[in-house]
Amino acid sequence: MKSSRGDILGTKVRKKKLSDSRLFYIYISPWLIGLTCFTLFPMVLSLIFSFTNVKMSSATTAPLEFVGLKNYIDIFKNDQDFLRSIFNTFIYAFAKVFLTVVIGLLIALLLNASIPGRKFFRTMIYMPAVIPVVSVALLWKLIFTGNELNIANYVLSLFGLGPYHFFGNEIIAMLTVIFVGVWSGLGPVMLILLAALQGISQDLLEAAELDGANSFKKFIHIILPSISPSILFVTITGLIGSLQAYAEIKLLTGGGPGNATTTMNLVIVNNAFNNLGRKTLGYASAQGWIVFTIILIFTIVFLRLANKRVYYESGGA
């Protein structure tokens, strides 16, 4: 580098421009540093950890002791808590994503009709998504609090239902966290689908109308195919996000009652930082890789499915 910009034989040479490929690597170097130090290195370390019995107290001092596949075998053979949490996470993620996409699409269709005050409605429906997760949890805790005199039971009593002990019953607790998840997660999904709806060509819709298509036929044959890439996007990102659900559930139910709402990440964080001594870091790392594998499989399956079903206007993803 020095020679290219320097001064050769005492005569000032015009600063030679750096080549494109050098500039490329110079500009992306912060990312390369970050990637190496805070993503790749930890990932490799995590993989190594998952085959050892390393403990938090001695992770940086003692040499690693390899135990082969023991952690993975233990998880599938003996860890009822974690297996239950996989089941819980699936229920939570699928129910939440399914409901947010379906309800989000219905609301987007509603707001796509030319009614007055659309922007205002859009903002109101989006609002729960910007409220900090701790506030969301505290608010809904108050609404559903263990005390049966809560506002949720009052509202239900107006319809002749309840009273319920929301966080005391396994099924109701799961329904409650899904409900709160949909409430706070719907905004972005609705907004993306609304934008997709607004992007549908009017010519296409008018042509269909001239051909005598009713609203339902228009929806199935034109609207749904046109927005299918966006539906796929919100479904995949939604699944990746909710399969990793942690804060919203930890703060709302703490995983309870029992382990009825415990998710995979809740178990892993507990094993890594709270269950001191009972589970090793190696064990928790192995659990992390199971989560990684599950998410990878889902993403690949959905993208495969998408290549068959999703309609792209320009013919490519």
Partner: protein, 277 residues
């Protein structure tokens, strides 16, 4: 025919009002309960929804009990430092990916995108061990320094927008003797202002509300952010005064709601471009 259309519109309008109310009502309930005198007056049957008075004292006392000045300062330190580092890095990296071709640049970009998919629990444990080795545990560094790499999402967004700016502008500046850094700051940056505003808003909202990262690394009460402080206040008091908890929550949430209302345009642009690209 026309009448039918109007009736249809009125019905849709009413449905929209009901749905919007459902989404906004819990927040309204939070505000109303923050003015209640104590927990007992909240758990009444039938419940009282409108407080008798709207005493500001609840806010004053909640603010003092929860020690919010310190929490807000700590939160702002996190917001500003991560934002400065994260956005600056993302800008450079995005510029590299958008304007310069090199062997392997496409592969690297694919790697960048796929890092968005890595679950945080996978890197969480070894990263903690790494930070312990570096002696960073108990400080803010583990939550700030990793932003040196920017964020994949921000890089992606900025790259998209840089690629929409005609390259002829770069070429012209280059002929005038502008360096590549000069092109970034003098030619591209002014045009990137709208998308930068969007990214800043998202950054602000995410860091302000973040719970997971701080709960792992900011264990020292002196470093607690609003998320941790609110949570601690709630769980430390077995019989928390719910009115104060709600008053604190309102203070905590209000900046986010204001950002949403006043920066709507930037906000919608951000969400929509993520979904469409």
């Amino acid at each position: 025919m026309k009448k039918k259309k109007i009736i249809k519109k009125v019905i849709l309008f009413i449905i929209a009002i009901i749905i919007a109310t459902f989404f906004a009502l819990p927040f309204v309930y939070m505000v109303l309960m923050s003015f209640m005198p104590d927990s007992n007056s909240i758990f009444k049957w039938p419940p009282q929804l409108i407080p008798d008075k709207f005493p500001f004292i609840n806010y004053k006392e909640a603010y003092e009990y929860i020690n919010m000045t310190k929490l807000i300062l700590n939160t702002l330190i996190m917001v500003v430092s991560t934002m400065a580092l994260g956005i600056t890095s993302s800008l450079f990296v995005a510029y590299g990916f958008a304007r310069f071709k090199a062997k392997g640049s496409n592969v690297l970009f694919t790697i960048l995108l796929s890092t968005m998919m890595i679950p945080w629990v996978v890197t969480m444990i070894p990263a903690y061990v790494e930070f312990e080795f570096l002696g960073w545990i108990g400080t803010r560094l583990p939550l700030i320094i990793p932003w040196i790499g920017g964020s994949a999402f921000n890089v992606f967004m900025l790259r998209q927008f840089i690629m929409m700016i005609p390259k002829e502008l770069d070429e012209a500046a280059k002929i005038d003797g502008c360096s590549s850094l000069g092109i970034l700051f003098k030619i591209l940056l002014p045009q990137l202002r709208p998308v930068l505003a969007t990214l800043l808003i998202f950054f602000f909202i995410n860091t302000w509300s973040d719970y997971v990262g701080p709960s792992i690394y900011l264990t020292d009460p002196d470093l607690h952010t609003l998320s941790l402080g609110m949570q601690r206040y709630f769980s430390a008091l077995g019989t928390a005064n719910w009115a104060y908890v709600m008053a604190g929550s309102v203070i905590f949430s209000l900046p986010m709601v204001l950002v949403l209302f006043f920066a709507q345009k930037a906000f919608v642009r951000g969400i929509v471009t993520t979904g469409l690209k």
